[in-house]
């Protein structure tokens, strides 16, 4: 599909246009954080802690007297870093394993499928909590934990698609012409299964951002003083009634980011191929 047609399809619907705009906005904010943040996110002014929104500090100050707006802006960096890293790792592992399992079948296939059965039977966030609990809370361990549970979806999706594509005539033709397995997979099979993966990755980005916020909220994610939306809410919970702005604004940021990516993912499904809706379940 041509890029122009594709963009037109995404922007043909209100929800997916809003999703695209929100997502681009979030990425821009994260990249331009040092330019647009009014204050240094880690500079403390303890004499003004918990101060509410004012003209100087639009979203107020937190429990250590840091500017909430600046921390939310920098928090976008953390969220996106986790989101993109998890999606990159999980999709790379998942695509590779799914393609190998689907293309070769046999014992490799059985092994990959059985492992994914176990991981799917285990509630995802619980496994992430368990992994972070033993590895220790940190940004990298959150990425590792979320990728460990995240690859399964991609592997299953790609495997299913590969099973279909590998029986097609152009694949048989490539094989008959003497193409090696890795060439057949990389050049002929994968390009034909990549569209649903893009959709899954967009929705996965939202999932990873939400999961990071949840883990950080539980104190198992990003450690202070790094600004994370989830961790900001933990502090907010402690000062409910005293400084409600701490609990309100980071939540709005999380919701807008997640909603934007979900809308965009939904729009992509329609733009790429509505039949993927079934696959994403």
């Amino acid at each position: 599909m041509k890029l122009r047609n594709f963009t037109r399809l995404v922007f043909s619907n209100f929800a997916s246009s809003a999703g695209a705009v929100l997502t681009v906005l979030m990425i821009t904010i994260a990249l331009a954080a040092p330019l647009i943040a009014p204050f240094d996110p880690s500079v403390q002014d303890t004499s003004r802690r918990l101060e509410g929104p004012s003209r100087e500090h639009l979203l107020g100050l937190d429990d250590l007297g840091r500017d909430v707006l600046s921390r939310i802006i920098y928090g976008a960096q953390v969220s996106l870093r986790v989101g993109f890293s998890v999606v990159f790792l999980a999709s790379t592992i998942g695509i590779a394993l799914g393609a190998i399992a689907g293309y070769f079948g046999g014992k490799v296939d059985t092994l990959v499928m059985r492992v994914s059965d176990i991981l799917l039977a285990f509630p995802g966030i619980l496994l992430a909590i368990a992994l972070v609990a033993v590895l220790g809370p940190s940004l990298n361990n959150v990425i590792l934990a979320l990728s460990t549970i995240g690859w399964v979806g991609y592997a299953r999706l790609v495997r299913g698609q590969v099973l279909k594509v590998r029986e097609m005539e152009f694949v048989t033709a490539a094989k008959a012409l003497g193409a090696k397995s890795h060439r057949v997979i990389l050049r002929h099979v994968l390009p034909n299964v990549i569209n649903p993966v893009i959709v899954m990755a967009t929705l996965g980005l939202a999932g990873a951002i939400l999961a990071e916020a949840a883990l950080s909220f539980l104190g198992l994610g990003v450690q202070p003083p790094t600004p994370s939306w989830g961790a900001m809410l933990t502090a907010g919970r402690r000062y409910l009634g005293l400084a409600n702005h701490l609990a309100i604004y980071p939540g709005i940021a999380i919701m807008l980011a997640v909603m934007g990516l979900n809308f965009l993912g939904d729009g992509l499904i329609d733009a790429l191929d509505p039949k993927y809706r079934k696959l994403m379940k």
């Binding site: 059985r114 059965d117 039977a121 509630p123 909590i129 992994l131 033993v134």
Partner: protein, 307 residues
């Protein structure tokens, strides 16, 4: 049907074993020497040795695994580092609170979703339908760890109708945590009921019923709704499992003394036997519930054939 149940139960065995293996290996994932990590960097060597012995870390790996499975089979989940008592005891005390919360969340979700979904399906594309759809969108996009504090600000601090945390005040205590946990489910169910009922209302049997003189209300509530609720029941069953994991966050927000809070507390205090046991119990409950939901689906809809 019986054959199907037996087959599903047999399928559960490797998955359960896999989960047990996964949970067993958790302690071995601790970077460095787990015993040193648990005891702390400055611990005396004899304390480290004691922990190593208690965890069986001085045994070969296969022996540890076999004895782990053996102890589980006897219902021995281990001894807590923190309290020195059986971890099973603590879990038994906390388990009912989590189940109670999950049922509360489910009840609230149904109370919200049933009327909203039905009205939305009957008056499609009206303003009330739009409100319901907006609510559904909001419900699935709002993370519980944000919704919870917002509810506390509104109903505990501003209006002082419900307590901020804890479980001491009975019914009053459970309202806000259930609402926090149930909101996402309510949103999902509202969407499902709306779509499902709208589809049924278009079926010929509804038109036939009305043509034969059945009142519209009866046609909707007796004929169409019955069929529309079948997929809803499945989703409800499957979602009950996710409510359990959702409880981990909600219990933390409201200091609800359940299994999820116990898990997070034991992680903070590095009480690994308690961590392992809590995860095991939550995971096993989750897969049991999913199995039951799967089987119930066949009972409510005789059209489903098991092969």
């Amino acid at each position: 049907m019986t054959q199907y149940i037996i087959r599903r139960l047999i399928q559960m065995i490797p998955i359960t074993l896999g989960i047990l293996t996964l949970i067993f290996s958790l302690i071995h994932l601790i970077p460095g020497d787990p015993a040193v990590q648990i005891a702390g960097e400055n611990a005396r060597p004899e304390d480290v040795a004691q922990i190593r012995k208690e965890l069986g870390l001085d045994q070969p790996l296969w022996k540890q695994y076999v004895s782990y499975l053996g102890r589980l089979a006897h219902g021995d989940l281990g001894t807590s580092f923190r309290t020195g008592t059986s971890v099973a005891k603590e879990i038994r005390e906390r388990y009912p609170a989590t189940i109670q919360l999950a049922f509360g969340a489910m009840l609230i979700a149904l109370v919200i979703a049933l009327p909203l979904g039905i009205i939305s399906a009957i008056y499609r594309n009206s303003w009330i339908d739009n409100v319901a759809r907006f609510f559904a969108l909001l419900g699935v996009s709002m993370p519980s760890f944000w919704l919870g504090p917002l509810l506390i600000i509104a109903f505990s601090i501003h209006f002082t109708w419900f307590p901020v945390s804890g479980r001491e005040e009975g019914f009053k205590s459970i309202v806000l945590p259930s609402l926090t946990m149930g909101m996402a489910l309510a949103a999902i169910l509202t969407r499902m009921i709306r779509v499902s009922l709208a589809e049924e209302l278009n079926q010929l049997y509804v038109t036939t019923a009305v043509a034969k003189g059945v009142s519209r209300r009866k046609a909707i509530f007796i004929h169409a709704l019955k069929n529309a609720l079948i997929p809803v029941i499945t989703v409800l069953g499957l979602q009950f499992g996710s409510l359990l994991t959702g409880a981990i966050i909600t219990e933390q927000i409201f200091s609800w003394p359940g299994l999820g809070r116990l898990l997070i507390q034991s992680i903070t205090t590095r009480d690994y036997p308690q961590v392992q046991a809590s995860i095991l119990v939550i995971a096993l409950t989750y897969i049991m519930i999913n199995l039951i939901a799967d089987l119930l689906y066949g009972m409510v809809d005789p059209r489903i054939k098991y092969d």
